[in-house]
């Protein structure tokens, strides 16, 4: 049976069930608002958003692999390319681009042109340290961990803080190969 080619992000985005964009944005806003009320510390909220993103990411990876028909990526460059071109398109309907590759090929930046999470949002003065979209960094970190890549994902530019675009830096820390999980004497 011939191998099925991977599907493009647009094709998948068109074929899966979608939810109203405003509902999504407002729900996310309500979550952040509630976290701020409950936790009060901006750093705590950032951590919690990252953790939530991580829990989403470890499940999201299976859906992504099932729907996109992607076979294993050979190296990190291909992985980042797939995240930007297929992943973001498929789940959020936005196109992302890759820039700032370093010499090793282990760090790159994903630039988002628009971001549905932040429609209608303005950060007040009391929340200036808040990474509003921190859930996205958690999602990427969680998803990559399930495919054996330990990464560190941070926000470099954030439009809510006055920059001109959204930029995420993804750094590959190490690749964890599969090991036989049972001890030999058991």
């Amino acid at each position: 049976m011939p191998a099925v080619p991977p599907r493009s992000g647009d094709a998948i985005f068109a074929s899966i069930e979608r939810v109203n964009a405003e509902l999504f944005t407002l729900t996310y806003g309500a979550i952040v608002r509630q976290l701020l009320t409950d936790l009060e510390e901006v750093d705590e909220v950032n951590k919690q958003l990252d953790q939530m993103g991580y829990n989403i990411g470890i499940r999201l990876i299976d859906e992504f692999l099932a729907k996109a028909n992607i076979s294993r990526c050979v190296d990190f460059k291909e992985t980042a390319d797939v995240i930007a071109k297929v992943g973001f398109k498929m789940f959020l309907g936005i196109s992302a681009s890759l820039t700032n590759w370093d010499a090793d090929g282990t760090t790159c930046s994903i630039v988002l042109e628009d971001n549905p999470l932040v429609d209608f949002v303005e950060l007040p003065d009391t929340c200036q340290g808040l990474h509003y979209c921190n859930v996205l960094s958690g999602v990427i970190r969680g998803a990559l961990e399930m495919v054996s890549m330990k990464t560190e994902v941070t926000w470099v530019r954030d439009m809510l803080r006055g920059d001109d675009a959204y930029e995420l830096q993804v750094k590959l820390l190490k690749q964890v190969p599969e090991e036989y999980p049972y001890k030999d004497d058991e």
Binding site: M1, I58, R59, I61, D62, E63, L65, A66, K67, I70, S71, R72, C73, V74, D75, M146, V147, S148, Q175, P177, E178, E179, Y180, P181, Y182, E186
Partner: protein, 169 residues
């Protein structure tokens, strides 16, 4: 690949059970060796207790994967046998057949392994295992009550799986 060259006469496919299932049994493992799911529809012979059976199956596949990758005549890079492999390296085997059964295997890059044991005349089951993976995503991964890495206890998944397996040829 066929292990025992011998006779070409294989027993006729087992009479389908009252429920009409076409597969014998199915296993699902995650990357840590936890058996997420085991279902049997037609297995007359039990030789090991369930834990040993699962460990044996997982160990077999782990070794087979490693072996088949190292024997690959087209790949240039050859590490030592037994060295842990990065996902993405090496080829991946997808089935083996004996004179009494056929075992089909699929592994996703996230480490989810699906094993389907059927009668030997079954055709290529790669599409079937992919479909089962999709069922897993829909009914298990998206289920908020399911904790990843634990055995699957989702009725919807089991029902849909049973229904699908009936239609495998």
């Amino acid at each position: 690949m066929q292990f025992f060259g011998g006779s070409d006469v294989s027993p006729s496919p087992p009479a389908t059970t009252a429920a009409g299932h076409n597969a014998n049994m199915m296993y699902m493992f995650n990357r840590n060796g936890v058996c997420l799911f085991y279902r049997e529809w037609n297995r007359p012979l039990h030789t090991l207790n369930p834990q040993q059976d699962h460990k044996l199956m997982f160990g077999l596949l782990f070794s087979l994967k490693s072996l088949t990758a190292k024997m690959d005549p087209t790949s240039g890079d050859k590490g030592n046998l037994g060295m842990p492999q990065l996902p993405g390296q090496g080829c991946s085997f997808h089935c083996f057949r004996t004179n009494t059964y056929k075992l089909s295997f699929m592994e996703s890059p996230s480490g989810i392994k699906i094993i389907l044991v059927t009668h030997p005349k079954t055709g290529d089951l790669r599409e079937a295992t992919k479909y089962i993976y999709n069922l897993y995503v829909e009914y298990v991964v998206k289920n908020p009550m399911y904790a990843p890495g634990t055995p699957i206890r989702c009725d919807l998944f089991t029902t849909n799986l049973d229904q699908y397996v009936r239609s495998i040829s």
